[in-house]
Amino acid sequence: MALSPPTVAAAHPAAGRIPLLGLLHEWVVTVDHKRLGLMYIGSGLLFFVVAGLEATILRLQLAVPGNALVPPQTFNQLMTLHGTTMVFFVGMPILLGFANYLVPLMIGARDMAFPRLNAFSFWMSLFGGLLLYSSLLAAEGLYGGSAAPDVGWFAYAPLTSRAFSRGNSTDYWNLALLVSGIGSIGTAINLIATTLCLRCRGMTLAKMPLYVWINFVVASLILVAISPLTAAQIMLLLDRFLGAHFFDTQAGGSAVLWQHFFWIFGHPEVYVLMLPGFAFASEIIPVFSRKVIFGYPVMVAATVSIAFIGLSVWAHHMFVVGMAPAANSFFAISTMLVAVPTGIKIFNWIATMWGGKIRFATPMLFCTAFLFQFLCAGLTGIMLACAPFDWQLSDSYFVVAHFHYVLVGSLLFTIFGAIYYWFPKATGRLLDETLGRWHFWLLVIGFNLTFLPQHFAGLAGMPRRIYTYEAGRGFEIWNQISSTGVIFQAAAIGCFLVNVARALFRGPPAGDDPWDGWTLEWSTTSPPPAYNFETPPEVRSRRPLWDQKHPGDPDWRYE
C-alpha cells in the first residue's frame, strides 16, 4: 500500500494573489484536467439554465388551449434550441466534464493522456454551443430578423433542404453540431487512452472503479456514434451549399436515409448520456449504503452489453416510416433485449442497498429517486419497443414523457447526486444539506408533476411539437398539470443555484473525505493539487480506501 498521505496543503500557490485578468488567463490557457472538467460542467450548467428557460416558455404557451403567448415560428425555434442545447450543450459537456475530472483521479493518474487535446476538445464543444446561439444574432431566416433553427432537434429531411428551410438558421444548427462533435470525439479518444495507459500500479482493468469502466465504454460508444452524425451533417452541408442530393427528395434523394443516419447516432447517444448516470449511481449508492457494489463483474458485463445492443436498436425511432414487418420485428426485439442488462443493473443497485446501513444524504436521495424514475422510464421503454404499440405512441407526448423520465428523472437526478457528492472534492467546501433537501423534494414533485401527465396527453392523442391545441380534445387537463410542475422545478433549480453560490463562498470546509469514500479521489486533498497525488498511488483492490481503513479485512481477499 502506497497511498499518498492526505497532507498536501498548498494546492495552488498564491492563487488568491493573482489579479482577475491573470486568473482568467490561467483558466483559458489551462490544460489541467480538473480545470477543464470544471469548465465543461460550468458551461453545461449555464446552457442548462438557458435551455430550462426555453422549456418554461414552451410550457407557458401550452398551459391553455389556443394560447398565443408566442407565435408558432418562435415556438418551433425554442423547441429546437431546447432539445439541441439539452442534448449537445448540457448533457454531453456535464458528463464529459465529470469524466475529465474524475477518471484521472480515480485511476491514480497525474492528468489525462493528452492534455492539449483535452483543452482543444473543451473549447470546440463550447464554441459549438456559442455558434448555435449566435444564430439568434446572425442567421437570416424565413421571416427576416433573427432566426434560430426551427427544424426540431433531429431535423428530419427534407425539412432541412434549401426549399423548405431558407435563410441560414439550419446551417448554424448543422455547424454547431459538427464543431461540438469534433470536441466530443477528441475527449472520447482521450478518455480511452487515459484509461488504457495511465492506470496506477496494481489497477488492472478488473480493479477499476465502475465509474471508470462505464466511462470507458461511453467513450468507445462516442467514437462509434458521433461519426455517422458528423458524416450526415457533412452530407447535409453538401446538399445545402453544393447541390448534392442525399436528402433532397425533390431530386430523388431519400428522407428515410437521414433518419437512419441520425438515429444510428441518436440511439447510441441515449446510452452515451444515460450510462454516465449509471456510473454516478454505481459510485454513490455503495458509499451511502456502506456496502460494496453487488455483482461488480456483472455490472461491467451489463454495461458492455448495453453498449453493444444499443448499437443495433436505432430504427425503433422509425417504426412509423413504413419499414417491412421483418425489420420492425428485428428492431422491436433488439430493443426489448436492452431491458435485460438494464434490469440487471437496477437489481444490483437494490441488492447493494439491501442489508446496508443507508445514509440518506442529498447525493443518495437523488440516486434513490433515480431508481424509481428510471424504473418508470424503462417500463415505458418496453411499451415503446412493442412496435405496434409504438405506432400509437410514436411522436406523441407519451414519447416526450418517456425520454424526459430518462434524461431528467434519471440522468439529471444522478447528475445532481454527483454534484452534491463530488462538489466537496472539487471545491473543498460542503453544500448545505437543508437546501439540498429542498432542492431534492421540489424537483421530485415538480418533475413528476410536469412529466407524468404527459404520458396521458400522448394517450389522449396529442402529438409532440405542436405549438397549440384546440379545446375539447381532452388535452387541457394534462397540459395544465404539466405546466404547473414547472413552478416547482424552477424553485428547485433556484435552491440549487443558491446552495452552490453560498457554498462557494461560505460553505463549511469539507476535508479530504467527507463521505467516508473508497475510491482514490478521496485520498488526496480537496481540492486536489495540480499534480493530483504526491506519490503515485498503488492499489490492490477495487476499493483502495476500504483496504486502508480496514486493514484487518481488506477487499483484495475476496475479489
Partner: protein, 339 residues
C-alpha cells in the same frame, strides 16, 4: 397568463369543437373502433399487465430496502457485512427477464405481421392521402373524387366489411397520419409510398392530426375521418362526384375567383381553376372546417381567411390577396355555393 390567452384560433368554432368533443373519449388510444387499433390495444394490454407486475415487484423490494436498511439513529457506526455478489442470484435475474422478453417478442412480432401483412380484401376502398404543408389532400382514384382534410369512409361491418386502404404520399416534407381510434400512425414521406388500412366498425367522426413535425403550422394540420353507414357513404360519394354548383348567387364571386391568382393553386372541377398546390374547392362548403381545421367552414371564417390567412393560421402558405372588401364578399358568396 389570462392576458396572453388570446385565442389564436379565435375563429375556431363552437360547433366544430363540440363535434370533436363528442368524438374524443378521454384516452382515444384505448378506445379503438377499428381492426388495427384493436390489435394494438390487445398487445398494449398484455404489455401494460407485464410492466405493471414488474413495477409492483421492484417498487416493493426497493421500498422495503429503503425502510428496513436505512441507518437508524444511535447506530454504532460499524460497517454492515460486505456482500460481493452471487452467481445464482445474478443468473436468476438474468434468465427471468429473458423469458419475459421472449414472450413479448413473439406477441409483438405476431401483431406486426397481423397488421402490416393483412392482405387487401376485394372490394376494399382505395384512397390516396397526400400530405402538404399544412393540409391533407384526399383522393379517391376509383371514384374520381378529390377533397381535403376530411376522409369519408364507409363503416366496415356486416357480411361484407369494407376496409379502407390508404396510399400515403407527401408533396413536400415528412408528415404522419394519425387517428388514434382507428389505427396507429404511418408517415407520409416524399419520394415514397406507404400503406395503411382501417376498418372502422362504428359510424361517427374521428379526429386526428399530423404527428410528424412538418414546419411552422404542424399544429394546425388536423384530420377528420367521417365514418358513414354504407347508404350515407354512397350518397356522399354521389354528391362529391357532382360538378361544382352554378348557383347564380355565386356568379360575381366566380368571376373574381377565376380572374385572380386563386386558380393558380386551387381547383374547382369543371371550371378554369385547375391549380394543384392548394386544396380542391369543388365542394368546399360541404366540409366542416377550412385551413385543415384551423377554422370552421362559415362565412365569417372564410372572410377572415381570404383577407389575411396569416392571421387565422400564422405561417400558412396561402398569400393574402389584398382584394377590396366588396370583392371578398363576392368571393365568399361564391365559395359558400360550392356545396
Amino acid at each position: 397568463m389570462r392576458a396572453a390567452r388570446v385565442l389564436a384560433g379565435s375563429h375556431f368554432v363552437v360547433s366544430a369543437a363540440a363535434a370533436a368533443r363528442d368524438a374524443a373519449p378521454a384516452l382515444p388510444v384505448f378506445d379503438p373502433v377499428s381492426a388495427p387499433a384493436d390489435a394494438i390495444v390487445g398487445l398494449a394490454t398484455l404489455v401494460l399487465a407485464i410492466t405493471a407486475g414488474i413495477f409492483v415487484v421492484v417498487v416493493v423490494v426497493l421500498v422495503t430496502s429503503i425502510v428496513r436498511f436505512r441507518r437508524r439513529p444511535g447506530d454504532d457506526g460499524s460497517e454492515p457485512p460486505q456482500v460481493y455478489g452471487s452467481d445464482q442470484i445474478e443468473l436468476a435475474w438474468t434468465v427471468l427477464p429473458i423469458l419475459v422478453v421472449f414472450v413479448l417478442s413473439l406477441v409483438t412480432a405476431r401483431t406486426i405481421y397481423a397488421v402490416q401483412g393483412a392482405a387487401e380484401p376485394p372490394g376494399a376502398l382505395e384512397v390516396t392521402v397526400v400530405g402538404h404543408q399544412w393540409w391533407w389532400e384526399i383522393r379517391y382514384p376509383a371514384l374520381g373524387i378529390t377533397t381535403a382534410n376530411e376522409l369519408h369512409v364507409p363503416v366496415s361491418e356486416g357480411a361484407e366489411p369494407t376496409a379502407t386502404f390508404l396510399d400515403l404520399e407527401s408533396a413536400d416534407v415528412a408528415h404522419s397520419f394519425w387517428v388514434p381510434r382507428l389505427a396507429g400512425k404511418t408517415d407520409l414521406l416524399p419520394n415514397r409510398r406507404n400503406r395503411m388500412w382501417i376498418a372502422p366498425r362504428e359510424p361517427g367522426l374521428y379526429v386526428g392530426q399530423c404527428a410528424e413535425f412538418c414546419g411552422t403550422q404542424h399544429a394546425h394540420m388536423l384530420l377528420r375521418v367521417v365514418v358513414h353507414p354504407r347508404a350515407d357513404f354512397d350518397r356522399w360519394v354521389a354528391a362529391q362526384r357532382e360538378p361544382a354548383s352554378v348557383d347564380p348567387t355565386g356568379a360575381a364571386g366566380r368571376r373574381v375567383f377565376e380572374t385572380t391568382a386563386c386558380i393558380n393553386c386551387h381547383s374547382v372541377r369543371g371550371t378554369v381553376a385547375t391549380g394543384r398546390f392548394g386544396p380542391d374547392l369543388t365542394h368546399l362548403a360541404s366540409r366542416d372546417t377550412i385551413a385543415a381545421g384551423a377554422a370552421a367552414m362559415d362565412r365569417a371564417s372564410l372572410r377572415a381567411w381570404i383577407e389575411d390567412p396569416d392571421r387565422v393560421k400564422p405561417g400558412a402558405l396561402m398569400p393574402a390577396m389584398k382584394l377590396e372588401p366588396a370583392r371578398v364578399d363576392a368571393l365568399v358568396d361564391y365559395l359558400m355555393t360550392l356545396r
